[in-house]
Symmetry: C2
Subunit: 403 residues, 2 copies
């Protein structure tokens, strides 16, 4: 893509925000804040978000079918699960003015999560023991009444999330699937580039369950959580569930990037969703839910991968693989060559901007490879890896082969 086509430009003078991800993503033109906890994804940001979500999608497709549930639902569903009056992030949609109220005065729950809705409909499609187990997932915008929206993409009132739900005829079958989801999450975090620094922790089940849940926590200096890693026993704990004697454990700051909840039979039971076994007897259905905030993960990646100059995207989720800068010569031919080879390239084709500013913008945006063409480089190109101090002159063909 040509830089001149991007709607949003870098804005190095944008004010510092309460977190590194908010500050850098805003300055680099990936996101823009509309109000506390609510951001727009600008073209560069949407590219990264799509890449993260496609990595998630590919892995989830091995576990279940993708669907798209509604954001709105009737109050009755939340009343049935007993959560209508208790969930304090719950919002509802109501007419915004008298003209709207006079036309149609309805109220709808804005689902902050979908355990309730999926349990209410699953019975219609999966009534029998032959229909179990099954899993479905969606990737969707979610809304929550966060009292303190903060830290950019880490805690928002509107955010993107993948949510997976599974239903089983026995607890044993549920537990096996739960472990499979853990492996899928590991693959996802490996692929986006945080695998080695991401651990599975025991966590409280919160509103959902009295059992432990599990979180995926990415170790990160600016992380909002403190975790304790018991390396001897290959187990880690969130602070609120850690054992008393933590002296033998490694303490680390970390950011939550995913969670797994064993929900038992609570949600299906609420809707009378049970299955009929081979002998004709009614049996309870075991359920799990598995969240992964894709926009939050984007924020964590920036918290983890940046330097003084800007963002350093892992290649798998970078908005573009190559950032092409042409200095007083045309880069059109190189741009065409890269596109022809299906290499994603951001081409800084601006003519009224200094070399220094183009270099600074490339570092701020953080694509893995910077290529410069100029009178000096002749028939070759100057190649620099983001974060490296060294650049080298190469033939275009050799660079393309190296990717």
């Amino acid at each position: 893509m040509r830089y001149s086509r991007l709607f949003a430009r870098t804005n190095k003078s944008a004010k510092e925000q309460d977190s590194i991800n908010a500050t850098l993503l805003t300055k680099a033109g990936f996101i823009d804040q509309i109000m506390a906890g609510v951001y727009i994804f600008l073209p560069l940001g949407l590219r990264v978000l799509n890449k993260i979500e496609n990595i998630i999608r590919k892995e989830m497709d091995t576990l279940g079918a993708e669907l798209l549930m509604s954001t709105l639902s009737p109050k009755e569903i939340w009343k049935t699960t007993g959560r209508l009056d208790t969930v304090d992030v719950l919002m509802k949609a109501v007419p915004a003015n008298d003209a709207a109220k006079n036309r149609h005065n309805g109220e709808y729950i804005i689902n902050p999560t979908h355990e309730d809705l999926i349990s209410s409909i699953a019975q219609r499609f999966r009534p029998s023991y032959k229909d179990l187990p099954f899993a479905v997932y969606q990737i969707q915008t979610k809304f929550r009444n966060e009292p303190r929206a903060k830290s950019g993409l880490l805690r928002g009132r509107e955010f993107r999330m993948k949510d997976l739900y599974s239903f089983h005829a026995s607890e044993a079958d549920f537990k096996q699937f739960y472990e499979t989801v853990k492996e899928s999450y590991k693959t996802i975090f490996d692929r986006v580039g945080v695998g080695p620094d991401t651990v599975v922790t025991l966590a409280s089940g919160g509103d959902f369950t009295k059992e432990y849940s599990h979180e995926f926590q990415t170790i990160c200096e600016t992380g909002e959580d403190v975790i304790y890693i018991d390396e001897k026993n290959s187990i880690a704990y969130n602070k609120e569930v850690a054992p008393e004697n933590k002296s033998e454990m490694k303490e680390a700051r970390a950011s939550e990037v995913g969670n797994l909840f064993p929900l038992g039979t609570r949600f299906p039971d609420a809707f009378g969703y049970q299955f009929t076994d081979e002998k004709g007897a009614r049996q309870p259905i075991y359920m799990g839910s598995y969240g992964l905030g894709s926009s939050r993960l984007m924020g964590v990646l920036v918290e983890k991968f940046h330097d003084e100059q800007g963002i350093m995207w892992p290649q798998a989720v970078a908005p573009f693989t190559v950032h092409l800068i042409a200095l007083r010569v045309s880069g059109d031919e190189i741009y065409a060559q890269l596109k022809e080879k299906n290499i994603e390239v951001l081409y800084d084709d601006r003519e009224d901007v200094s070399a220094g500013q183009k270099f600074a913008d490339a570092d701020l945006i953080g694509c893995p490879w910077r290529i410069v063409v100029s009178a000096k480089t002749g028939a070759q190109i100057e190649v620099k890896r983001r974060g490296s101090a060294e650049s080298q002159l190469m033939d275009m063909d050799d660079f393309i082969k190296s990717l």
Copy 2:
């Protein structure tokens, strides 16, 4: 995909609804109604929706950059454009219970459209005459306080929509772009299969503008609108703007599938968004907005392409190209061959279902090609085009080549 993996099954006994699209899409397992005007997209439905949206996206990418705006916005934005109290489809998000209210008592507008929000932020990124013209678009879930949600996907309270916005330094430049959008829309409707039956009509500007707007209307027996086509002068009218003497025009029922609004300088003006010309003088900015409801279009396609047995998807948006049915022999090998050739195939691998039910389900779901393998077909396959009475035995290779 294996039929057994689909979350949702066909349900021929599902009750008749108020429209053909709602009835057929529900019976065939594409959508499921949560409440009036609110549907879930089940796996088959999401596949069709994604295909429609990708056709739209490809065309829109030639006009502008894709971004993803927020659903929530502060009231101030709508106050600034004078629409906070007047737009009667406007909803707001508020805490759903006392627990939520006690934690954080905020109210946010749920944007039913984004002229207001995009105008409020464009200035930040595109302040100068050198930044004009530009266009941005998004594909997003929208929410509207419809008094009479009806007709399945045709008029919902929650629906999917592509919205494009353009900004220009002169009315002449705007008008040129407006015509380019018309051409892009024609390409989209051609590609999804309704091109020959879709006409551009003059329509009222509604709340947006005192000028005419334009609509794309697809001629369809069950259409909610009446249009008048003046073939001699190559122009068409929506009923409310048609000239008195309609006797020489062709009257037709049609469904709106897209709209184009010339907005003048109203929205940019409201936010003081003007540009500075070469001479340093402030000048107004001309704006257009261009909508295309992707979920609505899916509904219109079903209204138009169906028969007594079910849906007949145009190939470009069909959930799968091929519906493979195996009768008392294994279809696994054929399934693998089709997948290897990247042909999208739905494989009915159910063993406890009669041949008759499998055929009926294939007709209901409506993929373009049905393939049967059985003891009778031997090394060949039986191929039938959806809607054709004839089937023929073919070699697998010949079928693949024919696609």
